[in-house]
Symmetry: C2
Subunit: 326 residues, 2 copies
């Protein structure tokens, strides 16, 4: 929630002149996005998002992320499209940082997840998986099973500051996940961070419902089991604030997904394990951030214990039926 890099009007003028987007009439820093600096850029032709990539993004990976957004948008998926400059490139430098302009996506992320939102999310996620099938680039998911142990070792000495049994819980679970992690599921392009703040909706007043208007923030996207994206969403969308799992939300999301891209028997069976892995991934990164972010910092820390409890839930799940599906 911050602007890390302030862009002067002079620098902006020069940068925008590389594009055929009209005259800049406004440029305001957006208080969203914990990784990068985002500006809402308005010209006399329309709205755009200007992103400066900060240190947590590897510049070498930007062609993958921007290429993916362009690919998905070209296939009709609602997502930001990189705008190319007059020289044909979308990625350039601003204030010493890699920077790009992407199209503006209407909509707002929901702060209160309803059944409506879960029903919309499922088919849109499946459509994204289908649209990504022929994307030619690949990117390893460095926050999947092989990346968890090093993350664990880095937080291990201070894990007890979060919860007394956190170290033992993670150690046991990691052993299990490493031994049982599925290797033969259908693989493709996944978003890998489809939390509510990355999914936009627009209210359809006539119908009285919210309609999904697009996905944003593809900077964790990678090549991995497609069902792992679903597992991340089971965690991010189907628990209530009090920690209760809402099987109706899960059912609507999963059945909506399956109408667009059917899930194989193996994928369905793997869901509880994938959901444990997804819970582990966010338990580890949130624990890391919790221990390494000063309390007064500009970035609000997210509670790792939320994912400890979700992990515990999935550990007790006997089969995909408990996610509300037949």
């Amino acid at each position: 929630m911050a602007v890390y890099t302030e862009v002067s009007d002079d620098d902006l003028e020069e940068f925008a002149a590389e594009y055929d987007i009209g005259e800049v009439v406004s440029c305001k820093g957006i208080a969203e996005g914990v990784e990068n600096t985002n500006y809402l850029l308005q010209t006399d032709r329309g709205n755009y998002i200007l992103t400066l990539y900060e240190k947590r993004v590897n510049p070498d990976e930007l062609p993958f992320f921007l290429g993916l957004m362009e690919h998905l948008a070209a296939r009709g998926l609602a997502c930001p499209t990189p705008i190319k400059g007059r020289d044909g490139t979308a990625l350039r430098t601003l204030c010493g940082r890699p920077a790009a302009i992407v199209s503006f996506l209407k909509g707002m992320w929901t702060r209160r997840i309803t059944l409506n939102h879960c029903a919309e999310l499922g088919p849109a996620m499946a459509a994204m998986h289908l649209a990504g099938a022929d994307f030619p680039m690949t990117r390893n998911n460095n926050l999947s099973v092989s990346g968890w142990r090093p993350l664990f070792e880095s937080i291990r000495p201070r894990a007890a500051e979060i919860k007394a049994d956190l170290e033992q819980t993670i150690a046991d679970e990691l052993d299990y996940l490493e031994a049982h992690w599925p290797k033969a599921l259908p693989v493709g392009l996944i978003h890998a961070d489809l939390f509510p703040d990355n999914v936009f909706f627009l209210h359809d007043r006539a119908a009285g419902v919210d309609r999904m208007s697009g996905f944003i923030d593809f900077y964790f996207a990678c090549t991995d089991a497609l069902a792992y994206d679903i597992a991340i969403c089971l965690n991010a969308w189907c628990f209530e604030d009090d920690g209760a799992f809402n099987a109706t939300k899960a059912r609507l999301m999963l059945n909506g997904y399956r109408k667009v891209r059917p899930l194989s028997a193996d994928e369905l069976l793997a869901l509880p394990l994938l959901a444990r892995g997804a819970a582990m991934r966010f338990l580890l990164t949130r624990s890391y951030d919790w221990l390494n972010t000063p309390p007064g910092a500009m970035v609000k820390r997210k509670d790792p214990m939320e994912y400890y409890r979700k992990l515990r839930f999935h550990q007790g799940v006997g089969g995909p039926g408990q996610y509300g599906i037949a």
Copy 2:
């Protein structure tokens, strides 16, 4: 530089329904404004700013600020105009805070002040003073001479943390300002915070210059000597980063002002004293914020010493001629 209050999509939907502004299609928190929470609100009809007033604003004073913006806009001054709801009122409540929607003002504030900007600022400031002349409400300037001593007393015990001689410098200067502060200058509506981030410009590519597009942030506006607004701008616009006073900038600003609203001989003679007072006001408030803001806080602290040096400069000014004018 922060969003203090997060507005949920449900709350926003309900709030926006009180207005005749169309359907909300986007609402993004803006990383500007240290006092209030601002959202850039987009509907299918246009752009607006949604402001939630946080604790540093006295709710009782909001009718003055909103009334003033409405008054100035009605007289053709470029500034945000409060949008009234279907019930005819502009001020209502959102997330437990006073809140208002105002019109969106195109333009960007300049990070690099040029002669061009100073020449634009002068006449626009004078036009604002003229437009405010028949505004019926008044508001005491509680950050003028009578407010400085209480502020000083509150920072006095820790002033040495900023600079060894700060306490003595302020004590001596306060005695002088209280004894000599002018009481008979033309009084009217002043902005009282016309720093570069509150003045918007648009680039006129054909002419190769920036044109002023409007003033924002009237939440320090009050009734005081009109020339005091000019004195604030002498400090905020006419010093270089290295501390040097740029008399050419001052001359362009002052002469631009005088073409729209002539300055009396008394006002011209009082400028050096008013500039000392303006420097004192920001030296005191910045010192207060410096001593009372934790270093890691979301608000970036502004260096009080910048205004210590500006105060020292004006103490050495013999007459208005040193501001570049005849």
